[in-house]
């Protein structure tokens, strides 16, 4: 894995873990049932419409492929795969 790939994956993984570990705080900020984009362990953008969110990220000059985006399930909701 090149250095660039390693950094990209590490940053993505850290943002993913930050999202899952701070989901309660994210809910309190009003993002329940919304998609949330995370970069550098901070919320970049949130919206209930994923297509709109991706457009907003592009407008900000971000590449959505490299940004962690998670859906904020309501508290108590269990997803059976």
């Amino acid at each position: 894995m090149t250095n660039q790939e390693l950094v990209l994956l590490k940053n993505f993984e850290e943002d993913s873990l930050w999202f899952n570990r701070n989901i309660e705080e994210i809910r309190k900020e009003g993002f329940t049932k919304k998609f949330v984009a995370i970069k550098g362990k901070q919320i970049l953008e949130g919206n209930e419409n994923i297509d709109f969110l991706i457009q907003q990220l592009e407008k900000k000059g971000e590449n959505p492929s490299f940004i962690f985006i998670g859906f904020v399930y309501p508290k108590g909701f269990t997803l059976i795969l």
Partner: protein, 145 residues
């Protein structure tokens, strides 16, 4: 033996084993980090609709994913997938890179909240054993060299 470390995190109501990897393909050209739930109940590895949207595939790129549509049932909804045969999955903290077929949901009742899944096909391909101890939040794949 090699180990692929996994994260154990609360996700959508329960503790799950979670894998992070780089997904790559030459044609169509794809390069995207993925968070996938390790799902021993899923026979196949599936890119979730959210990750598919993030890839912003053009119609030309979608046409390059060959093969017939495969109907599958995911999270209560039916979708049709196509298989990208030579997809490479690269895991961090290891030198492990696996080339295997991955399903892409291209038609159907898409639910963008459905996560990507790392299924039993991955474990068969790599001859992996899964260690999953949710009470200690430990998980990893052990794969044969």
């Amino acid at each position: 033996m090699k180990k692929i470390p996994l994260s154990v995190e609360h996700f959508a109501g329960n503790l799950r084993a979670i894998a992070h990897f780089l997904l790559r393909s030459e044609d169509p050209h794809l390069f995207i980090p993925i968070m996938a739930i390790v799902d021993t109940g899923s026979p196949l590895t599936l890119i979730g609709p959210l990750d598919l949207k993030k890839m912003r595939l053009s119609k030309i790129q979608i046409q390059k994913i060959e093969g017939k549509l495969n109907p599958i049932n995911v999270g209560g909804g039916e979708v049709s997938t196509k298989i990208l045969e030579k997809t490479k999955l690269k895991f961090s903290n290891t030198n492990v890179e696996i080339e295997m077929p991955v399903h892409f949901p291209l038609r159907g009742e898409e639910n963008p909240t459905q996560p990507s899944l790392l299924g039993v096909d991955f474990m068969l391909k790599t001859k992996a054993k899964l260690y999953f101890n949710p009470s200690r939040k430990e998980a990893y794949f052990e794969i044969e060299d």
